[in-house]
Symmetry: C2
Subunit: 202 residues, 2 copies
């Protein structure tokens, strides 16, 4: 006779679903599933509905490719955002990180990744053509490149800088010692970047 399963099947299936999420191991998945089945039915229904709605309703903005439930996103439609500055990022989560600073008042452009020949991702797999069209059509004054300083990110930054310089001013975000960071514990590459990017005090 087969050893009976530890979990009753509907519970086992829910644990398995939680375990598919990134960073959720078997113990956490079990804890979450046991928590969920003790919630009132309407709470669980609200969770299930939120999953379905988010998947069905959230697409990308046809202008900047940021996640949006409308064809053009809130940022692109907002008349209070500077229309002639575009911050270029790899992913929608970078837009979210920058928005949380509440410092940036321009628009965005989400590439959908970085150039990575090893993974078969060239410029044509990204939204680069749309970006060039936007920059030339919208008479953009400045493109700020805010791409992670990985090998692929640097390649992408240099590629975009070359491509866009004929149309507009191209800048990139600063790299250096993080605020609250400690010179002594900073890695050499970061320190080298911090020295290289030094600015005159006035």
């Amino acid at each position: 006779m087969e050893e009976p399963a530890i979990y009753t099947p509907p519970l086992a299936r829910l644990i398995e679903q939680f375990q598919r999420l990134p960073g959720i191991g078997p113990k956490t998945a079990q804890r979450l599933a046991l928590y969920v089945i003790k919630r009132p039915e309407k709470d669980v229904e609200a969770f299930a509905q939120a999953l379905l709605n988010a998947k069905k309703q959230v697409g990308v903005c046809q202008k900047c490719f940021h996640l949006s439930a409308t064809s053009v996103c809130d940022i692109c439609r907002n008349p209070q955002r500077e229309p002639d500055v575009i911050c270029v990022v790899a992913d929608s989560r970078d837009v979210i990180a920058l928005e949380k600073t509440r410092e940036y008042r321009g628009k965005y452009h989400v590439l959908g990744g970085v150039i990575s020949p090893m993974d078969g991702i060239g410029p044509e797999q990204l939204t680069i053509q749309a970006l060039v069209q936007r920059v030339s059509a919208e008479k953009t004054k400045e493109v700020i490149l805010a791409i992670n300083p990985s090998v692929e990110g640097e390649t992408t930054t240099l590629y975009l800088a070359q491509l866009l310089r004929p149309f507009t001013k191209v800048t990139r975000i600063a790299f250096g010692l993080p605020m609250g960071g400690d010179l002594e514990y900073a890695d050499e590459v970061t320190l080298a970047r911090a020295l290289e990017g030094r600015r005159e005090l006035d």
Copy 2:
């Protein structure tokens, strides 16, 4: 004009739902939600369905009160499990933990908590009456108390021992140094318990 939200509404609602789960903070909730909306639609539907099914189908076994999708659970129905040994635990997750050891071959009884007058939980809020009925009806040979050694757990253990001793042999699991533990770093209470529970070597 109101500051526009950082997340598009269906995404915000999904993040909020993830954040209600225990141990999931805002950053993890965002990561999980962004992961989910990039999954194929059928995967998200399977997740939502697993939530609804687990909530609708999983109840408790009418005999031992362990989580079960059937009126009597797999363990209670399994003829290969010793019918006259009952291990008493506070919660279904303790059954799961014990089952994972694959050492125990008897049955269980889930109390649904521990006696805690501070929280208004007395013996009548737990499945203690059903346990007494089972023990006397099933001619149980041994009841093993496997309840966490907290203040409330100890109270519950002592209460149950008194209550059940007229009917059957009552034992409790051993407390002591955990395997792989280090005498030097063990707390005093654990060490005292380990001394108290010493056994003769033969």
